[in-house]
Symmetry: C2
Subunit: 224 residues, 2 copies
DNA sequence: ACCTGAACACCGTTCAAGT
DNA sequence: ACCTGAACACCGTTCAAGT
């Protein structure tokens, strides 16, 4: 099954950027970013490692291409009839769905926005539109959109690393607390003791509600 | 200057965990996480790469140790006389200072809380205390603290990668907008056109204000 | 034009050896 | 006890060669 060197005969499947990036995304989704090496990627494609360099300049370009592909899936419904709150919620839900679909890639999605710039523009158009329609002045629109995106990135990262804000993380804190003298950290002990099972799961909607309430307050301050 | 094999004579500086981790942190701060290799770290210490393995089991342990060291610097002033808002602000400011002091490490700080668990407990005691004193019920304290931390992580990551929410990122968006037909993305164009130089810098305080206003609204809903 | 394959300068880590 | 050094199985990437 080893391919011979040289240009493949007609009928053979040619290597191309899309096939490479799709295989790379599968590798990352299945085994994490650290599993993405040029050599493993080539093996998955049934090809010599150097063949990839005909189509993409280097490994950074492979990762950037994967991020671009993932961002291209990012579609935010516009909901023009609705008020600003459901539109912001729709943006948040779409972004969270993207992050959950590719948890192993989330750091690069957060960090390398430039690679998905066209999808980012389209998404921001929706978010900025909702916030402008709410009645915020342009600088406030930018600040508020930044806050929403910062929160979404922080939440996505916490969710994908299975720690901050997630049940696993609090279990680790609880375990450490149990090891320490009972006099230490009284507030943490009181709060944790009062929580039920259900309270232990991170709550995306509850956190987003607080932000929306804060935006509402900003609107009243601005007009009052 | 090459060291001979064997146990160093008395008077020679012994390798130990602290010296290794300090050198590792310097490497990361100066040249990024990708510059941290066992071999370069050994070279910085003037030692054979394998000497490190006497003191730390593997590279993951080196990184975890560095994160622990950085978290150990994390001190949040308690401000017991103050109301909850300045106390939450103090927490936020301290966390942001930590992130800015070690921007190259921020991803590991965000992602590997377990390594800094003792400092994280102490910091959470302060944050939970402020929110509980504000009058929030335990589940609301947890949700709200999660929101604050998610935001801080998202902001720190955006700030350190020099993109999302930062001037550089918006310049990239603006450049891309200039390349596209003027009919596309009318809202983005209007908003960007209305911004001054000062509006282009990310504004930590303004974003935090919105969150505090949202918490305030939560308090009124709870008691009303 | 498109792919292969040897080679180079790096990695992290194991294992045996030096003092 | 603590460090060195050779060796192994990996990396990303350059350069020359095959068809």
């Amino acid at each position: 099954m080893v391919r011979k060197a040289g240009r493949p005969k007609a009928g053979q499947e040619l290597l191309n950027q899309e096939r490479i990036l799709t295989a790379a995304l599968h590798l990352v989704d299945a085994h994490g970013v650290e599993a993405l090496s040029m050599r493993r990627l080539a093996a998955a494609l049934g090809v010599d490692p150097m063949a990839i360099y005909r189509h993409l300049p280097d490994k950074r370009a492979v990762l950037a291409g994967v991020v671009r592909m993932v961002f291209a899936e990012f579609r935010v419904p516009n909901l023009p009839g609705e008020s600003w709150q459901p539109r912001v919620r729709a943006f948040a839900a779409a972004y969270r769905a993207l992050a959950r679909a590719h948890p192993n890639l989330i750091f690069y999605v957060v960090t390398d926005v430039e690679s998905g710039i066209d999808a980012v523009l389209a998404a921001n158009e929706v978010l900025y539109g909702a916030l402008a329609d709410a009645g915020l002045a342009p600088p406030a629109v930018v600040r508020t959109a930044d806050l929403v995106v910062d929160f979404l990135n922080g939440f996505a990262l916490a969710e994908s690393s299975g720690r901050l804000g997630q049940p696993g993380e609090r279990q680790a804190l609880q375990a450490r607390l149990d090891d320490l003298p009972t006099g230490q950290y009284p507030t943490l002990r009181t709060i944790f003791a009062a929580l039920t099972e259900a309270d232990l799961a991170g709550d995306f909607e509850a956190e987003l509600d607080i932000i929306l309430a804060g935006i509402e307050a900003l609107l009243h301050n601005q007009s009052g």
